[in-house]
Amino acid sequence: MDFKDYYDIMGVKRDASQDEIKRAYRKLARKYHPDVSKASDAEVRFKEVGEAYEVLKDPEKRAAYDQLGANYKSGQDFNPPPDWDAGFEFSGGGFTDGDASAYSDFFESLFGGAGFGRAHAGHRQRAYQAHGEDHHAKVLIDLEDAYKGASRSISLQSPELDHSGHVVTRQRTLNVKIPKGVKQGQRIRLAGQGSAGMGGGQAGDLYLEIEFNPHQIYRVEGHDVYLDLPVTPWEAALGATVKVPTPDGKIDLKIPASTASGRKMRLKGRGIPGNPAGDLYVVPQITLPIADSEADKELYRKMQQQMAYNPRSKLGV
């Protein structure tokens, strides 16, 4: 387990005041909020900052962490010494609104012990008969899965109360059908797969949010799909029929003569299936062959002599 430097994560000095820490947290939380930031590591950073703040905002935890952390550097291998927290009194309420299960092993090893008031994590007092809570999870799929449909096996961890009233983490695996035509950000509702109801109340639902793995060659916008297609200058100039990959399989695409680089070609209905189906946009990108051999250079020289082409005519030169 690596030691985590919470001060470093928050970008504050070790002697920062509680107010400075609060300001730093608010700023970072806005910056890395997964609903706001599009950075690929936003969610990880957001959780990391939340975890650091969870410790540093609480003077008791901060003092304990300070005593422990004076001799460690970030990333250093770390095991908490036994009784490291002896002599500190934590006044419960260790986990506030945070999602405790999202914190790192490092945090768990320090503050996850019984003394930290886990039992109330995320559990509200319920009326005698109540509808079970709805649960939410993300599921990563490939773009191809949205075209063809797929099955995914999903592991979920959820805190539950056991018979004696303790919180236990229950792990379960669900096989879920991903119907064709799903889009980024959409949710699939699995009725009755959330928390059990109380006193005969109905079970809650499980919502799975669809997220696409980044694709090497396609880009997705809503239900439309974009593909950059490299073409040779002669294919673009003379027109040609070329093989083009689509998430549905290869097709033959006719490139009209005098095609400009970047001019979108729309293949209607070849985006993500649905009603209506999305479109596939092929964006030709003219690539320049490098003249390696003398013969190749000769060809370019011929073009130079024969073609009266000035790409800078609009610049007046």
């Binding site: 608010r26 939380a29 806005r30 909020h33 997964p34 609903d35 706001v36 599009k38 957001f46 939340g50 609104d97 509808h131 809570e133 709805d134 939410h136 099955s151 695996t173 669900l174 096989n175 879920v176 059908k177 119907p179 035509g181 799903v182 889009k183 950000g185 959409q186 949710r187 699939i188 509702r189 699995l190 009725a191 797969q193 809650g204 639902d205 499980l206 919502y207 799975l208 880009r219 916008e221 974009y226 950059d228 979108k264 964006v283």
Partner: protein, 110 residues
Amino acid sequence: MMAKNIQEKTLSGIVIDEHTELTLNDLSRACSTSAEWIIELVEQGALEPISYRQTQWRFTGTSLQKARTAMHLQRDLGINLAGIALVMDLLDEVEQLRARVHRLDPNDNF
């Protein structure tokens, strides 16, 4: 022998999309929040029911995504509802601009 053949059943769910109709109750439950909170979001213009005329509001699946975002913004950043409505409008705009930049220059990951 029997036990070996037991395969976990594959579950099928409903895709929540723009054709799905959700009730006020569906929305508030999916966000673990009160109906009043959803109603306030509607009053701020951050969410729109399919029709205001119906006695019972219905929402499209897109509203679920929006309501969840609104809930995260309030819980994580402490933004009030008017602020949330503004942030969500701006986020939509940024999203459109990002897509446009990307269409103009696919190599620009703005």
